[in-house]
Each structure stands twice: as structure tokens, then as C-alpha cells.
Amino acid sequence: MELVVKEQVQKELTKLTNKDVYIHLETTNGAYASHFDETFFSSGAYIRNAHLKFEHSKIAGDGPFRIGLKTTIGWVYAEGITHFEVDSQNRLLLAGHDFNGKLAVALEISETPFE
């Protein structure tokens, strides 16, 4: 993955506008966070292969970045995005890695379902 280049990511998002897409979205602080620090409140959320269409998209912030997708009847957003890649299957992979390089958030958009 590469560090986010805002204009480039916006271009990739725009390409996917108004298309039938599949979304992977997750946030996590890892299953061990509360084991190592019992005062830590562990939380996360995950959805894989949400099938939707967005009519508008925007990348915001100066890094880490925020990305919002406006759908016909709702929203998808992620914050803390640091890296991106268009992979060999032409999927737009966006991820936020924390200060130790661990994945903290992922937003991925594909025209074909994720495995």
C-alpha cells in the first residue's frame, strides 16, 4: 500500500460513483486490547460485501484522512485512513494504520464481491 495521495484517491472514488459496488468496512482495536489493558474499552464493527451504490464521494482532512460516500438513502464513512492501493483485481483498498503499523480501520470498494 502507498501513503494516501488525496487527489489520486478522490479520482479513484469518483470512478466508482453511481456503480453497483461491494463494500468492506471495519474498525478494530484488536481482540487483545482489553487483555493487555483492562481499563481499555474494546470496540469495533465489521461489514463485508454490503451491496450499494453511492452518488457522491469525498476525501477530507490533511491526513489521516476521512472518506464519506453518500448513497441514495444514507451514508458510509471511515476516518483514520492513511494508505491506499488499487489491487490487481481493480479494487480500491483504503486502510488506516496506527502508529505501530497495525490496521485500525479499513474501507474497501469493489465492483465484484469480496471472497
Binding site: G30, H83, D87, A95, H97, N100, L103, A104
Partner: protein
């Protein structure tokens, strides 16, 4: 260490075997005991991606599958099964279906010893759910046919609640295999291995003890 007829190891993640049991498995294999390792998921949700990141959420399962195979080769495991569940979803599977899947494995392999996680004392929800499914499957067997079950526990409260481990294996004679196993899971252990090697060079007693002694709790039904 007692000689076994067949060992079955059931864990949810590639690398679950590395720290806690790889030495024990290597010793069983040196003893001529066949070992089957059933790994439920490919650790798809791992958070270590390298820094700078060399893995993505989508490429990680492929990387970890290869690492798991490499680790099995290092230990000498000839029968590695990848069961096709997804990381962090094991606890949401239907309990009966999961336990039945474990029963099928047990029926097929007829192990004299099963190694898995101690349900409720293994920190990660996948660990607890995997252990619970194995325990349920064994519980369903007639008492006289049940294999021994050795559980791995490491939650902060485990010794308080289930006491000290009743079985401790000294694996110092195969420590090199164990370290190579940990290293095989390089995408997840990279940072730790660096730290560990320094500590080993200084022969820090706590680290040596952690590597050389593998602790198990025998499950009582």
C-alpha cells in the same frame, strides 16, 4: 511426556500453535506420533500488516496461509487442515454445527490426545468458541471413549479460577524448532521476534522459561 497414539490440535488462528504448543508438537512427532493440526481460520482479521504495510486486508489471508504451511513444515506436521471459517466470526457460528464439525474430525482421527484452548480462559472470542466446540464434541462421547484434552489458558484471571497448569512440558531440546515456528509466522511476529532474539541472547530467565515450558490444563468432564 506420555507417548500418544494420535494427537489432534484444534486452534482458530495460524500462529496460535507457535507460542504455546509447537515444542510439544515437535516432541510428539519426534516420538513417532502422528499430529493433525486443524486450523479454523486464516487469520483474515490480523492487524499486523508490516510497517510500511506489505499486506492488505485482502492479501493477508494468502500470506498467512503460506506462513501456516511453513510453520507446519518446520514442526513436522504432515496433516494440516484448514477448516474454512473466518477470523473473528467463530463465536457467531451455530454452536451445534461447529461441535458436529469437531466430532467428525474426532471420529475420523480417533486421537488419544486433543490440544485446544480452555473455553472461557483464552482471551480471544475465537479461542473460547473453538475450545467450547471441542469440549462439547468430546462431552458427547461415551465417557470411556473420550480422549484426553489438554487446554491452553492465558487470560489474566485463569490461575485464580482454574488453578495452576497440571501438565508442563520442558521443550528446551526442540527450542530451535519452536523459534523457527514463531518466525514462520513472520507477518504477525516480526516485531516480537526482534525483541525476543535480544532477550534470548541475554538469556533472560523469564523469556527462556516462557519458551522452554509449555503449560496445559487437563479438562475434567
Amino acid at each position: 511426556m506420555e507417548k500418544e497414539r494420535q494427537v489432534l490440535v484444534v486452534f482458530p488462528h495460524p500462529d496460535d500453535e507457535a507460542f504455546g504448543v509447537s515444542g510439544t508438537l515437535a516432541l510428539h512427532i519426534k516420538n513417532g506420533t502422528p499430529v493433525t493440526y486443524a486450523c479454523l481460520t486464516l487469520g483474515e482479521m490480523g492487524r499486523n500488516m508490516g510497517n510500511p504495510p506489505f499486506a492488505t486486508r485482502e492479501s493477508l489471508p494468502y500470506i498467512r496461509r503460506k506462513e501456516l504451511q511453513d510453520a507446519a513444515n518446520v514442526i513436522g506436521i504432515k496433516d494440516l487442515r484448514m477448516l474454512g471459517y473466518r477470523d473473528k466470526t467463530v463465536e457467531f457460528e451455530q454452536e451445534t454445527a461447529l461441535a458436529n464439525h469437531m466430532s467428525e474430525l474426532i471420529d475420523e482421527l480417533n486421537p488419544s490426545l486433543i490440544i485446544t484452548f480452555y473455553p472461557g480462559y483464552a482471551v480471544h472470542p475465537d479461542h473460547d468458541a473453538t475450545g467450547a466446540a471441542v469440549i462439547k464434541a468430546v462431552e458427547n462421547m461415551p465417557a470411556e471413549q473420550r480422549p484426553k484434552v489438554h487446554c491452553v489458558a492465558f487470560s489474566n484471571n485463569c490461575e485464580e479460577e482454574i488453578g495452576q497448569a497440571d501438565t508442563v512440558h520442558d521443550v528446551s531440546t526442540v527450542a530451535d524448532i519452536k523459534i523457527a515456528t514463531i518466525k514462520a509466522h513472520i507477518s504477525q511476529t516480526q516485531l516480537m521476534v526482534k525483541e525476543m532474539e535480544e532477550q534470548l541472547q541475554n538469556s533472560e530467565p523469564q523469556v527462556m522459561a516462557r519458551i522452554n515450558n509449555e503449560r496445559f490444563w487437563t479438562y475434567t468432564f
